[in-house]
């Protein structure tokens, strides 16, 4: 069975751990519990925020309460991606960001791909 899911959406909404990586049943149960209102024993968190805490290693309500008391602010998914950006890709990215000189207007009949002298 080949189920190719829309992981981009699922991860952005905190409904999957990472691209191609679903939450385990225990993680999902905890994620849901974090989202429940305080009066129901939860912490009232939005799902995407709760997901950030799970990715930071918080897996119990006690750990969450301690993390909050300690002032832990988990990285968002975008921050994690930015921090873990590939070093091999970075030089290429720098080259791509280098200012590109505007090309000279091409005269009719001129050869393509050659800069005007």
């Amino acid at each position: 069975m080949s189920n190719e899911l829309d992981y981009t959406k699922l991860v952005a909404q905190g409904r999957a751990k990472a691209f191609g990586v679903p939450w385990s049943e225990a993680e999902l149960t905890f994620l849901v519990s974090l989202g429940k209102p305080l009066e129901e024993g939860g912490r009232g968190l939005a799902r995407s925020v709760a997901a950030d805490y799970l990715r930071a290693g918080v897996l119990t309500l006690e750990a969450y309460d301690k993390a909050v008391a300690d002032g832990l602010v988990p990285e968002t998914l975008e921050e994690v991606k930015a921090r873990l950006g590939s070093p091999q890709l970075k030089p290429k990215a720098e080259v791509a960001e280098a200012p590109v000189e505007p090309s000279e207007p091409v005269e009719l009949g001129a050869k393509k791909g050659r800069k005007a002298k």
Partner: protein, 327 residues
């Protein structure tokens, strides 16, 4: 008279008849087709969309514009066709000595085996639907057991893309213990859990669980629970409402043993007969068929190819509930 290459067509016609008769017989025993939505498709990649329901129907004042019902963009899954097949070899010995009975047996056995394997692959979707994110199917492939919401088929916390609401299709008993053994109490609890399903717009859309799916090992117990005139297993003279709720018991022998040889005979499932085919999808680009023979020059076998294209997918999980029967 021995079959020669000039007899290709004649033998092919005869063996096709054997194949078709074998297929007809195999399809009668194909339990999965009563549970899965088996349909034909031309698409290699069949796209599934679960919109979780639209929510525009409401009070409209005189002269007011009718609200637009936007099909809320839900969750998607793509099911990609895979090819399965084999070759039936009619050897020169079989042809030379006119062993037509053996030829027919080989063809019938192969088509029967093909449909049984397809049936097993379907049963494995249910029996592997409780944990992890992938499993190894009957063909040795690693396949996903997740629904389009990224959650395993049977879960207490299926999600949607609109809000934080969750719903369950994991059977529990009245005490809240998940995966109870087959018994009257969890059937009653699962039925009520299903009937109060609330869509993301908080509209109650009852799921009516009216089909009990069990392994061969549980056939007797299932019948006693459902068809007892009183409450099964007790001297209680109360009526047995379950008898009116469960319209059909499907005994599926492929549930007893999973492809990885795990004993899953305790697993049991409840389904909504009107909705189960929205949960379990089986698009076929080509059902099993037998092609024309090829003369293999180094053995002088005549090889008849048998192949099929299909894929299994999970749609809306809420129409099937499951339990491993472990508790």
């Amino acid at each position: 008279m021995a079959y020669t290459t000039s007899d290709y067509n004649a033998l092919t016609l005869k063996l096709n008849e054997e194949f078709n008769e074998g297929a007809q017989s195999a399809i009668e025993g194909w339990v999965g087709k009563d549970v899965f939505d088996v349909f034909d498709t031309d698409w290699k990649v069949w796209t599934y969309l679960d919109t979780y329901g639209t929510a525009g129907f409401g009070r409209v004042a005189e002269g007011q514009q009718l609200p637009i019902v936007t099909s809320q963009e839900g969750d998607t899954a793509n099911f990609t066709q895979k090819r399965y097949g084999s070759r039936v070899a009619i050897t020169k010995d079989l042809r030379l000595f006119e062993r037509y009975n053996d030829m027919a047996d080989i063809v019938r056995s192969e088509v029967d085996g093909a449909f049984h394997k397809i049936d097993q692959s379907m049963a494995d979707v249910l029996t592997n639907g409780f944990s992890g994110s992938t499993y190894t199917d009957v063909y040795g492939d690693t396949v996903s057991n997740l629904a389009s919401d990224g959650v395993v088929l049977f879960s207490a916390s299926h999600t949607n893309n609109i809000n934080a609401n969750t719903y369950r299709n994991l059977i529990r008993n009245a005490g809240g213990t998940a995966n109870p053994a087959l018994d009257r109490d969890p059937i009653v609890k699962a039925r009520s859990d299903a009937m109060v399903y609330r869509d993301p717009g908080n509209v109650v859309r009852p799921t009516t669980l009216d089909t009990l799916i069990v392994s061969a090992a549980n056939e007797d117990l299932a019948n006693r629970i459902v068809f007892s005139s009183g409450v099964q297993g007790t001297p209680n003279v109360d009526t047995n409402p379950v008898r009116g709720w469960i319209k059909k018991i499907i005994v599926w022998a492929k549930l007893d043993l999973r492809s990885d040889s795990t004993d899953t005979s305790a697993y049991w499932f409840l389904a909504d007969s009107k909705g189960v085919k929205k949960t379990l999808k089986a698009p076929f680009a080509q059902k099993p068929m037998m092609g024309a023979a090829t003369n293999v020059h180094d053995t002088l076998d005549w090889e008849y190819p048998v192949d099929a294209y299909y894929v299994l997918g999970i749609g809306k999980p809420r129409f099937v509930f499951g339990s491993t029967g472990a508790n």
